[in-house]
Symmetry: C2
Subunit: 736 residues, 2 copies
């Protein structure tokens, strides 16, 4: 790495040195320069450093070329700021989106290349907005509760402002005073007023949409040298700190950097937090925004990366399953976090993303990557505590075997607001680069107009959010909290214990109010054993109700069934499982009658076999089902699931083991280990404690004891198959 | 490239120089050397050239390392030639498979490294077979019509012989005379006798299984210096040329190198042809085996590569859809073909395969790749004529846009023997790296014992082979030829025309005897138009029956439905479409009543939209269905299809257009071109000719005229929408 240069950049960055010289080749603009118009979001010195060094670092140079192609295409197409008309995916929506990218891109390219055509294009486009914007009232389409003017929802207007402010900052000192006045007043001040005054209650919400608004208004404040706007953005419309960006930082992330709505929205929410924080750091370093709350914004970047597998975010709550670490927001987050921390493991994420951004942060990333400074990102077992104080549940990751190894996700969070699903105590499992036990994510085709304008589909409510669409217990064929997220918001999940040790990783949590009068406790362990090539997952799900009821435990597995338990198959026609709470979307393929015997199901996925072995404390029937019923618009994907059903019991324990095994290679035509190495699963309960006992092919046994009382000092004893297992504390493992 | 070395290798290869010196470091074996025991399949000089040069060429060096790991693992596990017991996928089956690979690998490594431990391991393993083999009678498991001794079918015994003969050849001169005698007699001669005498009628078949037998016996003949075995292999058990390898070369491939069973079996059949041909070329170059029939074996290698898309073989007939160009057989075929032709476009296929073989051919490939000699493979529009004389139909490929562009496959072949499907006039379509209109392939889980021992499933007959499982017309809800492949073998398809020109590629074929009294003619065109970003596929399927009957035209599309035509949906339960001929495996999702109006269906796949617009000469109903009904063992994949149904008509014309359009990018959250650029499809027929008329959004029209009489001089006129289209010849395109 070029150390002196890097130090120079760092010094510039941390000192917030005012612009004093122009980047190479932009002299033509000098006549129009004004002292209060020089760039402030990225200084002239920083731009010059990028202009000089960018060529030498492929990742930066490639991004510049990409943006050049994009902006050149926009310039060739000509100035077009159409009268707003369409929903997401529609022509005017996509054009205004393209425009803010073009303004930001053209501003950066002007500074990086010195080519005044870019500045002129951004100017002309902004002048066109100065003509258009004052003529607009609320957007005509859609039914958003907070309409925008350029877009159908104010959210998109805020995003427009965040990106356009950056482009405007870069070219503002090339304009005449009159041009500046028009754009300042008729675009930026009007939009800031629209968001922070005309929609003050929206602006003052503690919600990620409002963060885009505070970021847009705050960055506008810096660019226009309008400290009033900055103050409103930071501390709310009443400037008392009860709302605004700082309050959002304090409340929207947990102390571990978890964002209440989950990773998909964390990715989206992250962008305005990180982009505005960088602007604050540049203009008001004394605020130490990246140090706030013990560095919670940087923890949030780490947390969203931790919330991924094989490049894709865990799709809990409303989430598009194709959303990954290579999105614009996370590319931006990684670059800005790297510039703050110089953590070389972020560089390996940047390598996976394959690109960075045109900023001093992006240059630092490109330099790090080019000098082979990258280190593997440490995907590790951890819990992300939920809630502003970290006491509203947790999201647990148990990992083994590195990037493409095993990852178990256990969702013991709070509700996650309106985008939260009714899936407390849900689990997901990844292995061999694939989701093995999965979450449907959201029922939505983002930006595809033919699918409800690209918004959430009805099936998002009727299926994707419902408890039965997840891998957690359904009581009485109803969803948790009666399917009312406002009720769910009042009841966090209670983590009981979390421990990571060699060969045994374990987590447990309790949900008391998901169903009236029923306490749910789940304990999940990832366990290694010398007889088993890969770790297995042991699951104990206990329900303690006051009166007899019905329990259904779904398992949404991914793969082609190789061997199923004996069952009656739907042959002449395929019935629907139920009428409501998501059951109306399930076709029934096969039903096995109630039995106390352990059953197993083996499937094949991506060249590996998975055997799930299961039973319960009372006889259960077992159903093989598939999503897609009652779906006249073909909105749902069709995915298989197993449902274990226990009827007429007050208390229930469901216990199971999931075992990855063997290999199938279609190219080489070889198969190995197609048969499970576990021969039986059994369970006993006495005196408030339970033991799950696995018997292996070798005859060895592996037992897991789990106690109701999680006190470290409580002693327990359970006898099963004539053997007694004794331990002290919440859990214990026994190898015999 | 090291030119002198390459020339030396080439000289050695073409002259078949007898072994005169030992490879470096194998001196210990000199005492055991015998003049008639030196390697003949690859000479000592050739081995030495590989030993000296291999290190310098990464692809060769990596393959050597891979084989070293494999053989070292086998050596560590110890000698194990178990009593035969299991079906494919079972322990003894997989062990004997692993053994022949270990013998071949150890032989090669001995020559390449000089490490005598490899030779000793191959020797000990072969001596163990010399002990075991004479004790064996027919294999106990399975119901193969021609049982093997080591394996459940003689086919696998033949493969064992082909590979083990190569390993034995490499180490034979390291053995004592007594060891050689035992292995010669108790393994190779006995196996050759088993295949070519005890199973003489099997050996004399003109079928790919018998090619493995002739190759194994012939290579054994070369290794043992037994010209009698070579003669039997080349010319059949009666040595008169009515059977044997040469007859197989003459009859199993068409003059264009197409193999009657289709690409999947062509891949498999290719290996013994190419491997044995190489041995013949090495030992009897005067036979000019690679020049036989105008180089048909090299055409067969080219043909199988042409029969692929995105690395996967077109899965027509019985075929595993995950089978690609990276299989051992095609790696071998590419290496041997490259050594013969030095065609640099084969090197790009080798690069895609990522490996080569440990032979002089593999060294040549590794050298070519290392010296950047590779050129892109020319995937081109072409027809592969079927039948030994090329007059039994054709397989048509229409391509556009390069490797990941559009590829249309039209199957106008003969039946393809017992692995042939009842799918004449079927079509497949690939675009953007994905199968868009697809073929189910075979219903089979190769080598997975829990799935019928890894063999073909019952559903292969009841579903995968049936006409309704393909994209071709079903008459009277029955499959072609009454579902009897022996009948199908008697009736080839008749190609009518095939032409490739700029902007219009077209093929047409007729099937007369698929259904009694009904002549079927299909014409398919891939057409470009300035208004359309990508070519569209126009399809005209005409049936001419003698009496009114029912016609069903299935379309097995791949993707998620974005917008379907209006239809009644199965809500409370999902019925099964029929009772037989594959209909019993289809669930009905939605039915639209009979109508003459054109309908359309839009789906999304891999970030691109596809709109299929269709109608017919009489009212048709349209059904959306899915495979997977009547499948108690979950043997079928569940895939959607559209079925167009016309009832009670003698004559029918189904006409349609498939249009790829637009882009969906989930990462960038952008959508473009989600709406079809075609607004209508219409059709008229008069005087033995038909016109299909597309109207585009711009108002322009694109018409395709197709005549019944395909004479070049016949004149035609059809009037539609008040416009008359006149042309001469089998077809014409009109742009207005």
């Amino acid at each position: 790495m070029n150390r002196p240069l890097l130090l120079a950049i760092l010094a510039t960055l941390s000192a917030g040195v005012p612009a004093s010289v122009m980047a190479q080749g932009v002299e033509r603009s000098a006549t129009a320069r004004a002292a209060d118009a020089a760039p402030v979001l990225v200084t002239v010195d920083q731009w010059r450093a990028m202009a000089e060094a960018g060529d030498r670092y492929p990742m930066f140079a490639q991004e510049q070329q990409r943006v050049e192609r994009e902006v050149r295409a926009a310039m060739a197409a000509g100035i077009n700021a159409p009268q707003p008309r369409d929903l997401g995916g529609g022509l005017t929506h996509e054009q205004h989106k393209a425009n803010y990218k073009a303004i930001a891109g053209a501003g950066a390219l002007y500074r990086l290349t010195g080519d005044h055509a870019y500045a002129d294009f951004a100017r002309d486009l902004l002048l066109e907005y100065a003509r258009l914007y004052p003529t607009l009232s609320n957007h005509p389409a859609g039914n958003s509760s907070v309409k925008g003017r350029l877009f159908w929802q104010a959210l998109n207007d805020s995003v427009w402002l965040v990106y356009s402010a950056q482009g405007y900052d870069a070219i503002r000192d090339t304009l005449t005073a009159e041009q500046r006045r028009r754009i300042d007043n008729d675009v930026f001040r009007r939009m800031a007023r629209f968001l922070s005054q005309e929609n003050a209650s929206y602006f003052d919400r503690i919600h990620n949409h409002a963060t885009w608004a505070t970021a847009g208004v705050g960055m506008t404040g810096y660019v226009l040298r309008d400290q009033d706007l900055v103050e409103r953005a930071l501390n709310g419309t009443t400037k008392d700190g009860r709302a605004g960006f700082l309050r959002q930082v304090d409340e929207l992330f947990s102390p571990d950097g978890y964002y209440a709505e989950g990773p998909y929205y964390q990715r989206y929410a992250l962008a305005p937090f990180i982009i505005f924080a960088r602007a604050i750091q540049q203009n008001e370093p004394q605020r130490d925004i990246f140090g706030r709350r013990d560095g919670v914004l940087l923890k949030a970047v780490d947390g969203v990366i931790q919330s991924s597998y094989a490049g894709y975010l865990f799709p809990i709550n409303d989430a598009m399953p194709d959303k990954g670490l290579d999105t614009e927001e996370i590319v931006t987050g990684v670059a800005i976090a790297y510039a703050q921390t110089r953590d070389p493991s972020l560089l390996s994420i940047a390598e996976g993303q394959g690109r960075t951004i045109l900023s001093p942060d992006g240059l630092a990333v490109a330099q790090g990557v080019a000098t082979a400074a990258a280190r593997p990102f440490d995907f590790r077992s951890m819990q992300l505590r939920d809630g502003p104080n970290g006491d509203l549940g947790n999201l647990v990751f148990l990992r083994h075997g590195g990037v493409n190894g095993q990852a178990l996700v256990m969702k013991n969070t709070q509700q996650g607001q309106g985008h939260g699903h009714f899936d407390r105590l849900n689990w997901l499992f990844y292995d061999n680069g694939q989701p093995v036990i999965r979450d449907y994510g959201a029922a939505r085709f983002l930006n595809i107009e033919a699918k409800n304008g690209g918004g959430y589909l009805d099936e998002n409510d009727s299926w994707a959010m419902q408890t039965v669409a997840h891998n957690t217990l359904v009581v009485g064929e109803k969803s948790q909290f009666g399917g009312d997220w406002h009720v769910g918001e009042e009841h966090p999940t209670t983590p009981l214990f979390f421990n990571v040790a060699d060969g045994l990783q374990i987590a447990s949590a309790r949900l008391d109010n998901g169903y009236a009068g029923v306490a749910l406790t789940r304990t999940m362990a990832m366990v290694e054993h010398p007889d088993l090539a890969l770790p297995v997952v042991i699951d104990l799900f206990r329900a303690k109700g006051e009166t007899p009821t019905d329990y259904d435990l779904p398992l949404h597995f991914n793969g082609h069934i190789i061997k199923a338990f004996a069952a009656e198959h739907s042959v002449r026609e395929r019935p629907v499982l139920g009428d409501a709470a998501g059951y109306e979307h399930l076709w029934v393929d096969a039903v096995a009658p109630a039995s106390s015997e352990a059953r197993s199901l083996t499937w094949l996925l991506g060249g590996r076999f998975y055997t799930y072995r299961f039973a319960a404390s009372a006889p259960i029937s077992a159903m093989l089902v598939e999503s897609g019923a009652n779906d006249p618009n073909f909105n749902l994907r069709r995915e298989p699931a197993l449902i274990q059903r226990m009827q007429g019991q007050a208390e229930a324990s469901f216990f199971s083991v999931l075992e990855p095994h063997g290999a199938y290679d279609g190219t080489a035509e070889t198969v190995s280990g197609a048969t499970s190495r576990i021969t039986d699963i059994a369970r006993a309960r006495s005196n408030g404690a339970e033991v799950i006992l696995l018997t292996l092919v070798s005859g060895k046994t592996l037992a897991l004891g789990v106690a109701d009382d999680v006190a470290e000092t409580a002693a327990h004893a359970v006898t099963i198959n004539g053997q007694t297992y004794e331990w002290t504390g919440p859990y214990a493992r026994f190898d015999r």
